[in-house]
Amino acid sequence: MTRSLPDQSLGPEWTILELLARGIIDDSEVQMVRDLLTTDTMKWGELLEQALRHKMFPMLAHQIMSASLRFDVPTNIYMHLESALEWNRWQIEVFRRETVRVAQALADRGIPFVVTKGMAFESTLYDSLGTRYMNDIDFMITPRDRDKVMTVMQELGFRPFFDWAKDARREEISSRLNPDHLPKLAREIDQPGIRLIDIDIANSLTWTKSPFDVPVEEALENPVEQPIPGMSGVSIPCFRPIYQFLFTVLHLFREAWLQKFVESGTDVGLMKFGDVIRLIDRNQNKLTDSELLRIMQTHGVTDAVAWVLRHMDETFHTHAVELLALEKHGNEKLLRSQMRSPGYVNAWSESMRGRLQSKSRGSVQPVAPAHRGS
């Protein structure tokens, strides 16, 4: 997708992260990032904090290393960035091995599944550079296989994450009330720098009783086999591009539209939009034929997809709504809304750009009384 250079009204630190999130595509952007990084007024504390908040620390580190800015960055910061990038690459290697271990166990039992999010994107959208940060490994299964998968995971040494949570009972109740995922699972491992491996297994593309959803059984049909870098002949099943796009967009919608993620400080970040931009860039032909639109209309998710793409276009100067022919979808009322509880939707006035940059999103209050949503 073509896009204009971002305006710099939110400061050089934020502009750098916006450019990195959406992906550097030409020499003018390379030069812009370089110029911004070497500006005299650079606030390194702000840049590093925002990079951490948006899970972009390894990506920022890689950009600085690859631009040969060794002597333009304060030495201590440079060294820390270098270590962080190396550590992220190591964690990805460990995660890859664990992904294959779990994937083989599920495949051996004949359970349909795909690997999603960071592990799927790291090699396809981020060129296996070790720059895509991930907290955990994500899988998608069907609801009917929940018990079978839980048994397999326990055989592999995983236990519900409650045991390690700050408030085990809170985690347990929350997990039971939201059966769109299995309880988060974890396993202790004996690897330098990595104590636990977390696995998140979803059985819905969105959330329990979501008004916007695509049947997971349909999405899991005909997965594509994706090679694992550094492991010859080994591959993992991933969504085919249309469903990869739908899942990624709807997942972003979930985290951005549901108020609970805002309040818990785990809502949308720059990299989630970065994933969507890259997915469109790399699969443009497959996403712009009529099949995607037909699937979205069949399942009534067009407005939710348009919600994400409109906010993305406003924030990153992309043209995704036009590219995917969604100009007539996602009305202003929906665009400026946030779901507080089932059926109740608040109006929400802040721009997505302002929200992404804000460090106190939980304090954002609705601007109008709650009303019954459709």
């Binding site: 109740i173 929350s174 039971r176 609970k260 089932p342 109740y344």
Partner: protein, 84 residues
Amino acid sequence: MDDITTQFEECLRRHLRSAKPNPINYDVELVQLGLDSMTAVAVLMDMEKTFGIRFPDDMLVEGTFRTAGRLKEAVQLLRERQAS
């Protein structure tokens, strides 16, 4: 068993904004009193702590707390089970 109404309502009022200034209508859906997925967790945990009960897995479903009436029945049932 003791009447739990006062403690039960205090517990709800601690978490539900719209329940604070008004008498609690036991037939109205709790979402109309401000319940969302996060406050639902907080309400259930507070009920467990206040009444010394534990919701079993099969009661950790939306139906248990659809209305204040349903939730109060569930709390009373668990207290009775515990007492017997």
